[in-house]
């Protein structure tokens, strides 16, 4: 421990950067092992990022198509209407009715399974865990590689439904049977839904492999001296998420396998007897229960909501601590709140099913457990506010996006209380109110959190700084357009607008909100195009960006001890951890940060950390 070198100046760090990075690089690897089938966690993280960004734009384009149809039903898609494939549009260039339902399904499925989960868990999990734990790679690098390489085939499979009779899956991202059983097809027909099931199964498999790896790495490969409560909250978020995945995803896999059999072989796990269909089932064996699918699906997919947000809660805590130059307020409370949300996440799935025909008695149970989730969520929000309190807040692009996460999460959380209250849910269930809620949490929350993480770690990923002014433009445009898009959806929902209908204009009671639909669509188009700032920024900075120093944000966590563009093996020195991750603005230190890897005695006095000459055994306050 005593041999660890103590660096205190930035310049010294930067000097070492390149020589050491190359020492560890494996020059003997052929190019396809370095850039394609790589076992380096950083390369895998970048692969997740690029693949998911691609799908982000596919999913986003689909969203714009369906927004167009809702605002201007039956009118040709502007500019590109006539260029679109004939399966998608009628001959005037307007969205075809059956394609509308495919759009709804594919927008949701792509965004959840191929964008948010791979970005939040795949990208940040791979990039952050080994670096922030101060280790060279994952515990199981080859498994890690496979966890990525199941995603592109899944993406290709789900998209290849374009070439199948009937097009993409059209039963919604929740794929409720009997609709998803596609009972009108004869047995052994490959429909878009069949491909959807195969793809989701593969993605689930990829998640499980990744998660097993994360748990193993966190438990076994922490740097010397790093206790569990010395881990940054990003790691806590990812670690708890990985536990949720290992517990929940196998259930989804089982349910998907059963639905696949109903869909392809016409068994009756979820299909009741005597359904009216153009063709009768192959097997009329039993009386399946459609609601069973909903139980199994939501048993995974409700925790999946937390899979999509817990890592970002951690990331946002780190970003906020760094840019307010303050320790995270109530670090342990934050960890327990994360764990509390994860645990409660497993006993609330029924709140998706208040109107499903599940026994209303269960509605009571699930309503109460759901409402309790508001408690750990508010603990987190108040602790984030506490982190800002008496800080010295710098509004970088990363910080702006983190603040957007917190504020949008407050709105998304509050709108969740409406739906958690079962009697209120009677009216707003399956309306645009829930669409507004999910987008406040998954876009306003998760995606802004992902942006914050990208702005924060890009320097370590590519060794280049992102352009701040482009970053701000991206943030301001996204933030304004986001709220203009999704806030009015609450109003649309209260007007009674059902989800997933292709033409609201035929309903008398939806006339008062017609204007809002147009407003939302225009805002959504702006929102979609403002993402170009991000793409341009990422691509431009890769080549022309300013060279990143080793620790550009003057942060404390271990990834900043690595060279600016770490090679295979990550670190150019031995890492020993001396303290927690958030020792900012410690009294008695000249610098306002104190990295985890720098030695030096300190004590904790009434929740403050104070530098001392030596730590004595008899110190009444104990060592930190």
């Amino acid at each position: 421990m005593s041999t660890a070198v103590t660096h205190s100046s930035e310049a010294e760090h930067a000097e070492h950067a390149h020589d050491h990075g190359h020492d560890h690089a494996h020059h003997d690897l052929p190019w396809y092992r370095k850039y394609v089938f790589s076992t380096d966690h950083k390369v895998i993280a970048k692969q997740f990022m690029l693949a998911s960004m691609l799908f982000l734009f596919v999913g986003g384009a689909f969203a714009l198509f369906l927004r167009w149809q809702l605002a201007y039903p039956g009118q040709p898609v502007p500019v590109i209407g006539t260029l679109l494939p004939s399966q998608w549009v009628d001959n005037t260039g307007a969205i075809a009715q059956d394609f509308y339902y495919q759009l709804v399904t594919m927008h949701g499925s792509i965004m959840i399974f191929l964008v948010i989960i791979p970005l939040a868990v795949g990208m940040f999990g791979n990039f952050c865990i080994p670096l922030m734990l101060g280790t060279d790679d994952m515990a199981l690098p080859r498994l890690n590689m496979w966890s990525f390489w199941l995603v592109p085939p899944a993406g290709v499979i789900i998209m290849s439904a374009f070439y199948v009779d009937g097009g993409y899956a059209a039963a919604g991202w929740t794929s409720y049977p009997p609709l998803s059983g596609v009972i009108n097809n004869p047995t052994f027909t490959v429909s878009g839904q069949t491909l959807w099931l195969i793809a989701v199964f593969l993605i689930g498999f990829s998640s499980i492999m990744g998660a097993v790896n994360y748990v193993t790495t966190v438990l076994n490969k922490r740097a010397k001296g790093m206790k569990l409560f010395d881990m940054p909250l990003t790691i806590w978020g990812l670690f708890i998420t990985a536990i949720i995945i290992t517990l929940g995803t196998p259930v989804l896999a089982a349910a998907v396998a059963m639905l696949f059999m109903d869909n392809f072989f016409h068994t009756s796990f979820f299909l009741p007897d005597n359904l009216i269909a153009h063709t009768r089932h192959g097997i009329e064996a039993g009386a399946g229960q459609p609601v069973l699918w909903q139980h199994l699906f939501w048993f995974y997919s409700h925790p999946a909501v937390y899979i999509m947000i817990l890592p970002l809660m951690g990331i946002v805590s780190d970003v906020m601590a760094t840019f307010s130059r303050k320790p995270v307020y109530g670090y342990k409370a934050m960890v327990f709140a994360l764990a509390g949300i994860a645990f409660l996440g497993f006993i609330v799935w029924g709140h998706h099913m208040f109107q499903s025909g599940m026994n209303p008695l269960l509605g009571t149970t699930f309503m109460l457990s759901t409402i309790v989730i508001a408690v750990p969520s508010s603990i987190k929000v108040f602790n984030w506010l506490g982190t800002l309190w008496r800080g010295n807040i710098k509004f970088t692009s990363a910080m702006l996006n983190a603040l957007a996460f917190v504020s949008m999460f407050i709105i998304g959380g509050l709108s969740g209380v409406f739906m958690a209250s079962a009697p209120v849910d009677i009216y707003i269930h399956d309306t645009y109110f829930i669409v507004a809620h999910i987008h406040y949490v998954l876009f306003g929350g998760s995606l802004f959190g992902i942006f914050a993480g990208i702005y924060y770690w890009y320097p370590k990923m590519y060794g280049k700084m992102l352009n701040e002014s482009l970053g701000r433009k991206h943030f301001y445009w996204s933030f304004a357009a986001f709220n203009a898009t999704f806030f009015p959806m609450h109003i649309i929902g209260l007007g009674g607008h059902m989800r997933r209908i292709h033409d609201p204009s035929i309903y008398e009671f939806l006339k008062p909100i017609e204007g809002w639909n147009k407003f939302v669509t225009i805002a959504a188009i702006i929102l979609g195009f403002s993402q170009l700032f991000l793409v341009i920024n990422i691509l431009w900075s890769m080549k022309y960006g300013r060279k990143a120093p080793r620790n550009p944000w003057r942060a404390n966590t271990l990834e900043w001890a690595a060279p600016p563009h770490p090679g295979h093996g990550n670190f150019d020195r031995d890492i020993v951890v001396y303290r927690g991750p958030y020792e900012f603005s410690v009294e008695g230190r000249e610098l306002d940060y104190w990295p985890q890897w720098e030695p030096g005695p300190s004590i904790s006095v009434h929740h403050h950390t104070v530098v001392v000459e030596t730590v004595q055994e008899s110190n009444p306050f104990g060592t930190h």
Binding site: L388, V417, V424, D430, L494, S585
Partner: protein
């Protein structure tokens, strides 16, 4: 001041015509005002901190790791607040949805969803349903596109049962109890003005009930994705005064009687019904 309506969420609800609807809307309002309060509290603090503690080169952050008493306070207060909302909601939930709390029906109707229409079966002149898929599970085998309710043509009680498609009529100030199901995929029976929404599941029957205090002409919608015609699954219903409703049902009964005289129950397929006779 019309633009202020944007901030008044409650103004966007369609008119409520149901006896329990007022209570649901009031509960929404309570949660809405609590949320608006929390919103201004948290955003106020957030905005204040962001301005007050913005970056100044001559200042440092404050090294402080948190305080357990503060943590406990903001754990307990939300627990009480949200717990109260939960318990109060449950009271209303039990009254509107619990199977045991479904009131005694003044009019009982069966509702069946199919892609893409709603069908309603009335008990007819005798006020009694014959054997059908609702009161006898084995009659599910009789369900077909022509006979969506699985009516058994051999049961004389069912001879006067009549069904209407995509529209129904109910009397005002009466407890209407519907039993809902579906012949193919999931649908969700949604009456926006009545504050009624219930998924209907093939193979299972759901209790749906309401009591309307305001006569008028309203819309039915489907709220659960059910295929390419989901958005077009629109129906209409009328809440009529007692006398108008009686007049309508009498005319329907007379129609049924006239139709019966030459051949029994045109709504059921006799061949299929016979094959299941025990």
């Amino acid at each position: 001041m019309d633009f202020l309506k944007v901030f008044d969420m409650l103004a966007w609800f369609p008119e409520n015509i149901s006896t329990f609807g007022g209570e649901l809307d009031a509960l929404f309002a309570i949660i809405y005002y609590v949320s608006v309060g929390i919103f201004f509290l948290t955003f106020g603090i957030l905005g204040y901190f962001l301005v007050k503690y913005r970056y100044r080169p001559d200042r440092r952050g404050y090294n402080y790791h948190g305080n357990n008493i503060v943590e406990l306070t903001w754990t307990i207060l939300p627990t009480i607040l949200f717990g109260a909302i939960g318990l109060y909601s449950d009271e209303i939930w039990e009254r509107t949805k619990y199977s045991k709390r479904v009131p005694k029906p003044d009019v009982e109707i069966l509702v069946m969803g199919k892609t893409f229409a709603w069908m309603f079966l009335y008990a007819g002149a005798d006020g009694k349903f014959g054997r059908n898929a609702h009161n006898d599970r084995s009659a599910r085998a009789l369900i077909s596109l022509d006979n969506p309710f699985g009516i058994d043509s051999n049961d004389v009680n069912g001879d006067d049962d009549f069904f209407v498609e995509n529209q129904f009529k109910v009397p005002v100030n009466a407890n209407i109890v519907m039993r809902g199901s579906s012949v193919d995929v999931l649908h969700s029976f949604f009456l926006p003005n009545m504050r009624v929404k219930q998924d209907v599941v093939p193979g299972t029957w759901m209790n749906i009930w309401f009591n309307s205090f305001k006569p008028g002409h309203y819309e039915i919608a489907c709220a659960e994705l059910c295929g390419t015609g989901h958005g077009g699954m629109r129906g209409q219903y009328d809440v009529l005064s007692k006398s108008e409703f009686d007049k309508w049902s009498d005319s329907k009964n007379a129609e049924m009687l006239a139709a019966q005289t030459p051949a029994p129950t045109p709504s059921a397929d006799p061949a299929e019904a016979d094959s299941t006779k025990k």
